[in-house]
């Protein structure tokens, strides 16, 4: 792999809670992960297990209640809200939200949405427009859509805009939360190929997805999140073709493919029994 070993992100023993007092609940527990330059880590797991929460914690969008987060060697765990904002504005870390509508300003034509982070960085308008358009083309968005509002696009068009938007600033670490869930297979291949190119260019990527085939295809390593803990972390191919933890086995076994039927109800129940044993 092209990873050169220097971690862009180091997370150790991360804890996250939501809610106050009686409603306070732990969502992430003892989560550790590091991602090197040029490495792609896939995060798969149960819905509601805390994948998006993990991403938000790494961006300072939710506050960790324990553990450490290092970005490019710098401990950001105790950052104030203002320091986090400054860090995000520098564009070192970028996040593609699971809901593409949240990544995009509903009142801004998408081309404007794309160049905005560049203008913030001090890039001149003309160059920003050029770069913005280049990335929209790269995600295969038809140029006649550039002037539209996000609400006037189809689901997959929006998702591609959201991906293009994080690419323009050329960040060192990109977290993508379900970036291909709304895409037809041709566009999915297109985005996945871009991710591979980014990895080869030295970008560190965290790729959160329920699409196990996509994750297996682009990730170097895979981490399986279950009820707020990483229950298995390992070589991508190994985790998919030979999962060890009972939850990972249930997950991989439940995926339907074009060529083989997924586990039946009875088979899933048997795997689940193992999990609770």
């Amino acid at each position: 792999m092209s990873a050169d070993g220097r971690p862009v992100l180091q997370v150790a023993d991360l804890e996250v809670h939501y809610g106050l007092r009686r409603r306070r609940r732990r969502v992430l527990h003892g989560v550790s992960l590091s991602v090197a330059r040029g490495e792609t880590v896939g995060v798969i797991g149960e819905t509601g297990s805390g994948k998006s929460t993990f991403a938000r914690a790494v961006l300072g969008l939710v506050r960790a209640s324990g553990g450490r987060i290092l970005i490019d060697g710098e401990d950001v765990s105790r950052y104030s809200a203002r320091q986090w904002r400054a860090l995000r504005r520098r564009g070192v870390v970028q996040y593609v939200f699971q809901d593409p509508l949240r990544s995009l300003d509903p009142d801004l034509p998408i081309e404007e949405s794309l160049i905005e982070p560049l203008l913030v960085q001090g890039v001149g308008r003309k160059e920003a427009v050029e770069r913005g358009r280049a990335y929209l083309a790269r995600v295969r968005l038809d140029s006649e859509l550039f002037g539209r509002l996000p609400g006037e696009l189809s689901g997959g068009q929006r998702q591609r805009v959201a991906v293009a938007r994080v690419l323009v600033t050329e960040p060192a670490l990109i977290i993508l939360d379900e970036p291909v869930s709304a895409l037809d297979s041709a566009n999915r291949v297109g985005i996945l190929e871009i991710l591979k190119e980014l990895r080869d260019a030295g970008v560190a990527l965290i790729f959160i997805s329920h699409d196990l085939g996509s994750v297996a295809g682009v990730a170097d390593r895979i981490a399986v999140l279950y009820q707020g803990e990483f229950v298995e972390v390992g070589d991508a191919r190994a985790v998919i073709s030979n999962p060890r933890h009972p939850y990972a086995r249930l997950l991989v076994g439940s995926a339907p493919t074009l060529r083989s039927a997924a586990a039946s109800r009875a088979e899933r129940d048997a795997l689940r029994a193992l999990l609770h044993a």
Binding site: G156, A182, N187, A216, S260, A261, A266
Partner: protein, 364 residues
């Protein structure tokens, strides 16, 4: 692992999803009384056209639950036709899949069926019948009556269909009260039943949460619960399981299979996941640039595709398909779908763009 290889025809001829093992100790699959659907946004842009006299035939036992005939959709502001004629017929208990290119008009077609096209869009030709009723010229109260109890939907962007400032449980219960006249306590109980049926781990907790407190997959299941609350005859599922992990997705597909069997629910499934479509649907429409390029039984379309675009879609699906990595799958060396020796490779309705054809060649 417990994985049975199924080449095309084998799986595809068993479209009624998985075998119905009695789910020991599973939550009750589905509650019963009738209630309504997601708060459908934006008022109906009443579809035009179609001769109104066709609302005649009373729904016989196997009369179609949904008939779509030559529907075309226009963007009136930009004076463009976006959807160039979609036709299918859906009988009770059956499922039709719509797959295809992003932006090809799948969601607009679904919205046309529900009478909720965005402003400036209109059905410019063709007709739609829901349970034997032509929807052209339905009044707003008639639509309100129909949505939820006869036809309902789960759309791609779940967050847009719920009120962010109300607890999700309260929203479901409200809908139940309005549609079925249940009292508050009963409506709450029923809402909790529905949240259990969609396999939310802690229904009581979710009931009291706001949309921003729910994960993508939890939100999606709240919408599914709402959509099936009133026992609709037709459910439109537009990428309705994409935010779910495959384990929960399997549970939801089982639930829908039960509803088809037990209540004769008819399904329209829009999905980019061809494996889901192969598992669930009896027939498939393949759309590209507003055109239906291929339409037929699932087994034919997905395992013996005739149109170039369908082949491209399948080839690209398999390029990142799970089959490549499954340890005990014997198909890893041959990621291409079984070519049908009889099929004429050029029998498609229209050509694929040059660039895509090249990609298709590259994959082969």
């Amino acid at each position: 692992m417990t994985r049975t290889r199924s080449d095309g025809t084998a799986t595809a001829t068993v479209p009624a999803a998985r075998p119905a093992d009695p789910p020991a100790g599973q939550p009750p699959a589905v509650p019963s009384p009738a209630v309504p659907s997601p708060a459908v946004p934006s008022p109906a842009v009443a579809p035009t056209t179609a001769d109104p006299q066709s609302a005649a035939a009373p729904p016989a036992a196997q009369a179609p639950a949904l008939t779509v005939r030559g529907v075309r959709i226009r963007d009136e502001v930009n004076d463009r036709e976006i959807v160039h004629g979609v036709s299918f017929e859906l009988r009770p208990g059956r499922a039709v899949g719509i797959v295809g290119e992003s932006g090809s008009g799948k969601t607009l077609t679904c919205r046309a069926i529900l009478g909720i096209l965005p402003a400036h869009f209109a059905v410019s030709a063709g007709s739609i019948e829901i349970a034997g009723r032509d929807i052209a010229g339905l009044t707003t109260p008639q639509w309100t009556d129909l949505r939820g109890s006869t036809i309902s939907a789960v759309f791609q962007d779940p967050a847009s269909y719920l009120n962010p400032s109300l607890k999700v449980g309260v929203q479901i219960a409200e809908v139940i009260q309005v549609k079925s006249g249940l009292r508050r306590r009963a409506a709450r109980r029923r809402a909790l039943e529905l949240l259990t049926a969609v396999h939310l781990r802690d229904p009581e907790l979710v009931y009291d949460q706001y949309t921003f407190e729910l994960s993508g997959g939890m939100l999606q299941r709240v919408l599914i619960a709402t959509a099936i609350a009133a026992d609709p005859q037709v459910l439109i599922a537009d990428e309705a399981t994409t935010a779910l992990d495959v384990t929960v997705q399997a549970e939801i597909l089982d639930l829908l299979a039960d509803l088809r069997e037990r209540n004769g629910l008819a399904l329209v499934v829009v999905s980019h996941d061809l494996a889901v479509v192969a598992q669930v649907c009896d027939e498939v429409l393949v759309m590209r640039e507003g055109e239906v390029v291929e339409h037929g039984p699932t087994a034919d379309v997905l395992y013996h595709p005739r149109h170039e675009y369908t082949r491209l879609l399948i080839a690209e699906h398999e390029q990142y398909g799970l089959d490549r990595y499954l340890a005990d799958s014997d198909s890893t060396t041959d990621p291409d779908p079984d070519p049908d020796p009889e099929a004429d490779p050029h029998a498609g309705i229209g050509p694929v763009a040059g660039e895509q054809r090249k990609e298709l060649d590259d994959v082969r």
